[in-house]
């Protein structure tokens, strides 16, 4: 874009959002895995946290990607009215950026990834510093009912046999509130590998993939915007300026003595007739070609005052100046304006132009009869 540039401020927002979601993921997981008073965690709830919710949010992300929506986790977070005032105006600026959508999608994926990462760290934290007992409870389901479902969930990490669920494990870890079910408490911790694999497979890996895709889309759009803005270039070389010319010849409305008319403009008879009636008959009358081709380059008797008739609308050229500088003494420039319908008044702009030009020639004046 030529005017609105993608702001560097974009960089700080994902970091802040990621920090927040990381902390949230950590705290939620730690709170959840803290379990009940005996440190028992319901495996089925854990599946909800590590499999169902991540998969559902992943589907939402894919849907947003397909529908090119500008919402997502980051969009939702940024729309919350909790940010300080200076942040709100900053967020509002981000919203109108041309790269807002891909950026928002990227920020959402990064936030979701950091949420998962926070969860993973919380999980590892508890595994290291606490004894987590994974149990499951159900009135309706038996271990044999649940085993195929868990096996299906564990299908992606078949290469890791220790993380595979078995009916025996399920039977051992089924919990009834009325009493404990296993004599060996260490068996209750065996599910950690399954839980870890589930979290990695259904949360972190796909989210990582989405993050890479989002980054690529954002990078592509950024490059595209940059290339679009630099496509067409217009450069210039040279520096002409409008110069103020101060000298200006005086305007007179009559001439006192006999004169020679030089019809530089090759004006038609109606112009000459008007001239005769306004300033009198010239003592000598000649045309442009006659004077320039003449032997002395002047082309009229030097005792006469020259009156040079020019087209008012044509800008004065240097070739006229060259001719005027050959002439001895003073003279008059007579700009006239005409067309097929007759003689027109000379416009002030044209008069001004001719006065500027005549001012360069010593003793010359502009003639305009009233």
């Amino acid at each position: 874009m030529e005017a609105v540039r993608h702001s560097d401020k974009h960089a700080s927002v994902p970091i802040i959002l990621s920090g927040l979601t990381f902390l949230t993921g950590f705290l939620v997981t730690v709170s959840f895995l803290a379990g009940d008073d005996q440190g028992r965690v319901n495996l089925l709830y854990l599946l909800l946290l590590f499999v169902v919710i991540p998969l559902a949010s992943l589907l939402v992300s894919l849907l947003l990607l397909v529908t090119r929506s500008n919402q997502g986790l980051a969009g939702w977070l940024l729309s919350l009215p909790v940010w300080p005032r200076h942040w709100r105006s900053h967020i509002a600026e981000l919203v109108m950026s041309p790269l807002h959508r891909p950026w928002l999608f990227y920020a959402s994926q990064l936030s979701a990834f950091m949420l998962g990462l926070g969860g993973l760290l919380g999980f590892m934290f508890l595994l290291l510093l606490s004894d987590v007992s994974f149990v499951w409870r159900s009135t309706l389901l038996k271990a044999e009912d649940l085993a195929p479902v868990l096996s299906a969930i564990a299908w992606p990490w078949q290469f890791w046999p220790e993380a595979q669920p078995t009916v025996a494990m399920l039977q051992t870890t089924q919990d009834f509130r009325s009493g404990a079910q296993t004599n060996d408490p260490r068996l209750l911790g065996e599910w950690w590998r399954f839980a870890l694999a589930a979290q990695l497979t259904f949360n972190l890996l796909p989210r990582c993939l989405m993050l890479i895709i989002a980054r690529m889309i954002y990078g592509y759009r950024t490059r595209l915007a940059a290339s679009e803005s630099s496509q067409l270039t217009i450069s210039s070389a040279g520096d002409n300026q409008v110069h103020d010319i101060n000298q200006s010849a005086p305007i007179v409305d009559h001439i006192d003595k006999s004169f020679a008319l030089i019809n530089w403009a090759q004006a038609p008879d109606m112009c000459l007739a008007a001239l005769h009636s306004n300033i009198g008959q010239p003592d000598y009358e000649t045309g442009r070609n006659q004077v320039t081709d003449s032997a002395d380059g002047i082309g009229f008797p030097p005792t006469l005052k020259p009156v040079v008739l020019v087209k008012s609308w044509e800008p004065p050229l240097a070739e006229l100046e060259d001719y005027l500088r050959l002439l001895p003494g003073a003279g008059y420039i007579l700009p006239m304006d005409w067309d097929e319908s007759g003689i027109n008044p000379v416009t002030p702009a044209h008069i001004e132009e001719w006065c500027r030009f005549t001012g360069k020639i010593p003793q010359w004046q502009v003639l305009q009869w009233r």
Partner: protein, 458 residues
Amino acid sequence: MALNPVFAVVGHPNKGKSSIVSTLAQVDSVAISSQSGTTRSNEEFTISLGEAGFRLIDTPGFQRPAAVLKWLKAHANSAEKRADAVRQFVSDPACIEAFPDETELLRPIVNGAAILYVVDGSRPYGAEYENEMEILRWAGQPSMALINPIESERYVTPWTQALGQYFRIVKVFNPMQDDFDQQMTILETFAHLNEAWAEPLQTIVSALRDQRRRRQQDSLQLLTKLLIELCNYQLDQKVLNAQQAETLKPALEARYFQKMKAMEQQAHTELKKLYRYQHLQSDIFELSFEDNLFDTEQWIVWGLNRKQLTMAATAAGAAAGAILDIGLAGHSLFLGALGGGLMAGGSAWFGADRIADYKVLGMPLGGYEVRQGPVRNRNFPYVVLGRFLWLTHALQHRNHARRDALRISEGELSEQISALAGAEQKALHRAFDRLVRQKNISNLEEVLAPLFINPPSD
């Protein structure tokens, strides 16, 4: 890859050569004046897209065509020597001194530039032009004539007839008034001078059309940014007591209004730059702010007001309680977080005034904050919108050759809004209502977009 074309814009002085270059190159830096002889040396403009592009060269006008033709005739007695004579003329030091304008204007032509000969179609044809046209014919380069109807098209026909005897292509082009499509048509016509130029010229024409479309989108983004900035802008300052706050009011008001005007002016300048107007002068009547936008509020430690302090204390208390809960492995049923939050929040709410009176190392922990803005007048965003749309429309329909100033007005905004579909109108009014209440609007750009599709009436 074909060589990119170069066009030398030549002709009599003051016939609009610089105007034509200015409009076709979309630059307003070209010196244009009613005084003849403003262009004293060649000025070159390169319009390029990657490797494709073309160059336009603005040249001084002919000043001594009769003498130059005489010189050329003296140096070439047969047709095959004419181009060489022109080349010799351009490089001859004596000619450079005697005919500075002609040697300057003919230099790009002898170096391969095509000729764009410009005349004024509002004034009658004159035989004195034949010297110029003859010199250009001698140069032997591809050539085209452009009739510029500066004041009227009255003499276009006789000019067309006369020019047709010297130039294969004769076109009428008004650099002050012809619209963008007509400008593109002229650029496309240049390709007729040489088939090899069709590709680079077509590339540039397509790029210029794309650029025009993008500018519309970019204008929309500028407007969105401006509206959000103006409607959210607030100026605040901390003072020790209420009396000091009241004293500060006029200065704060003045700073606020000045900043608001500057923000709008900055957006207008960016909009002009977007349309490649670097030198365009414009004036605008001042924004009016009817509301009393001044407000004073007490603040306590770290610049927080009572509500913010309570919320911060609640969050901190809850976090501390939550750590306790985690330490107890959830046995406390989150009572730690709940109790911590309630206690800390309550203390902050009821103890805020007392905290404000405390001093640490002589520095007070509380005071007053004076604020100016943000705007609450529902009409305000419409005024900003109307002025911005008017300027956008003016720039879209203005040619770069014009040098007159713009007088920005609000235009007929109500008509433009009426032209929108009912749902679009509602969305706009709703969005502006949210704007003056400083609510976030994620789709403001989409809401404003239809206004850029329906341009204001002239």
